[in-house]
Symmetry: C2
Amino acid sequence: MGNLDTIDLAIMRTLQDNGRISNADLAQRVGLSPSACSRRLDILEKNGTISGYHARLSNKALDYKMMVIVHISLSGQFAKTLAEFEAAVKLCPNVLVCYLMSGEYDYILRVAAKDLEDYEHIHRDWLSALPHVVKINSSFALREIIDRPNVGL
Amino acid sequence: MGNLDTIDLAIMRTLQDNGRISNADLAQRVGLSPSACSRRLDILEKNGTISGYHARLSNKALDYKMMVIVHISLSGQFAKTLAEFEAAVKLCPNVLVCYLMSGEYDYILRVAAKDLEDYEHIHRDWLSALPHVVKINSSFALREIIDRPNVGL
DNA sequence: CGTGAAAGGGTTCACTC
DNA sequence: GAGTGAACCCTTTCACG
C-alpha cells in the first residue's frame, strides 16, 4: 500500500475504464516497458489497491429498467438486530448497494427491478420480509446522471 | 441484444467477478472451446449486453474512508434548471453516483471523501456551489453492507 | 527501470461438421 | 452454432545493464 506515483495513477486510471486491456497495450499507454508495467500491476493487485475487475452488464439489455432507492428503519440498533437484517438483505439479488447510515433511517439500499410489477414483488417478498423492519420508503430514479465505479483520479 | 442462453449467462456471471480472466480460461469454465467462447463474448460486447470492464480501486488504499449520501433539492423542475445542475455535478470527481429522483428531493448523490474535513470542502466548494440548489441533506454511511456492480444473475 | 530472450500460452483465423 | 488446427501475438519471467 506504499506511495502511488504518477505512473501508478496512470495505470489505475486506464484500468478503471478499460479493465481488459492487455499488459502490452497498458504498458504503451503509461509509457513503460511491458515487464515493468507487469511488475507494477502485480504489486497494485497484491497489496489491494486494485481490488478486482468487473464486467459491467447493461441493465437495459437485462431488462432492468428501474432503479429504486429504499430507506429502511429497524426496530432497534442492537448489534444482533443489525446482523440479522444484514445477513438477510445480502441474499436478495436485486439489492446492488446497502449501507448502514447515520440519521433518520438505518439503512439505504439501491435496488434494481425490471418494472413496477417486479418491484412490487421485490418489495413484498424481500424487503418487507427482512427482519426487524419497521419502515420502508421507496423513491424511484427517473434518470441516471452519473454512475462511476470509482472516484475520479 | 438477442436472447441470452445459459452459456451467455455463465459467461456474464464469470466476467462480473473476474473481469480479467483470459478467454481460454473463461471457455473452460463455461464448457466451450476458446473460439466459440470468443465469438459469444464478442457478440455480448458489441450488442452492449456487456458494456465495459472496470478495475475496482480500494477506497481505503486511496484514503477515501467516507461515503456520504446527499439529497439535493433544486429551485424548480424546468428542463434548463436540471440540465445546468447536471452539467455541473458531472465535473465533481467525488460524486460516484447521481440520480434524478421522484419524491421529496430532486437528486440523490453518492459522494466519496477522504475524511470529514475533506467532505466539508466538497460540500462547500462543490455541492453548495451547484446551480439552483436550495436544500442539501447529507447522511453519512457507517458501514458498507453490499456493493455489487450488477444485479445478481 | 529497461532490454532482450525464451518458454509457454492465448487469440484469431479459415475450415469443417 | 460448435470444434479443430495453425499462425501469430502476448505474457511472464529471468539475467543483465
